[in-house]
């Protein structure tokens, strides 16, 4: 079987978001990777987008539920399980 030809910059650009989300097939991922290894411009765009997403993710994932809110929540859940409560 013939291997698909290499991707152009335009084709790579169109797949960049799905590549960042690892939402392409193994073969499609390989073709994008191959292009990024040989094209400095596309690699620069990819690095930018990838860093942007990682930074956003790491900032948002720092949010933690305060301990007092957590305690109140579990107290509510426990109370709701008691006989006679609305959810029992």
């Amino acid at each position: 079987m013939m291997r698909p030809s290499r991707l152009t910059c335009e084709q790579t650009f169109r797949q960049l978001n799905d590549y960042l989300d690892r939402a392409l097939s193994a073969e499609e991922m390989r073709l994008v990777e191959e292009h990024l290894e040989t094209c400095a411009q596309c690699a620069s765009e990819y690095r930018f987008e990838s860093t942007f997403l990682d930074e956003l993710r790491s900032k948002l994932q720092r949010i933690a539920m305060p301990d007092d809110v957590r305690s109140r929540l579990f107290a509510k859940l426990a109370a709701d399980k008691k006989p006679g409560s609305p959810g029992s």
Binding site: E45, F48, E49, L53, E55, R57, L60, L77, P86
Partner: protein
């Protein structure tokens, strides 16, 4: 000697819920835009989930199941009636928006990773402000993507919508976030500070 009996007890509701509380709270802040409403939303969702736990199929995706309840609670009650007036035009934001702005402002001459430079100066509040500019349906997708690293399929399951809708909202949402974050970075003086620092080196 006989082998001890192996019991495979299903995890309790609390055991399933506990590891999800931080990301669920983060998602609730992302959706409601403030901590007080976020606390109410998580509590309402947790109580609804506890009361409906009998319908949860053991072994199926608890995360997707709980997030569906949480987003339904949001759409049912907490959804903001009034959005703050938007001063930034968010229609048709082009791809690579922030990349193009960092070229224009010369940040690529300072570093080979300008995204790190700009985003490194931004804090969680800046990011939350930017997220509030997204339409509700985009915020729920972005929240699940960034806070829980869910796949397109898992997000679609949690939000009961097609995978293609998740994909397009996520991609457009990211472009909007880039434009809003750049706007905030400019407004807060971060961009001018960075270009000044570059000029001084």
């Amino acid at each position: 000697m006989s082998e001890p009996a192996v019991t495979t007890e299903e995890p309790t509701f609390e055991e399933l819920l506990t590891p999800m509380l931080d990301p669920a709270y983060g998602l609730a802040i992302t959706l409601t835009g403030n901590r007080a409403d976020a606390q109410d939303l998580v509590q309402e969702a947790a109580l609804a989930a506890l009361r409906g736990f009998g319908t949860f199929q053991p072994g199926s995706n608890f995360k997707a199941w709980f997030y569906r309840i949480l987003t339904n609670c949001f759409y049912g009650k907490h959804r903001q009636q009034k959005r703050r007036p938007q001063t930034v035009d968010l229609d048709d934001v082009p791809d690579l928006y922030m990349y193009a702005r960092t070229i224009e402002t010369g940040l690529h001459r300072q570093t080979d990773n300008p995204a790190e430079l700009v985003m490194g100066r931004m804090n969680v509040e800046h990011v939350q402000r930017a997220i509030q500019a997204l339409p509700d349906d985009y915020r729920s997708v972005a929240g699940l993507y960034f806070l829980e690293d869910l796949t397109y399929e898992e997000i679609a399951e949690a939000l009961s919508c097609p995978v293609g809708t998740v994909r397009s909202r996520l991609h457009r949402g990211r472009r909007i976030l880039q434009k809003m974050l750049w706007h905030i970075a400019t407004e807060e003086g971060i961009v001018s500070q960075l270009t000044q620092e570059g000029a001084n080196t």
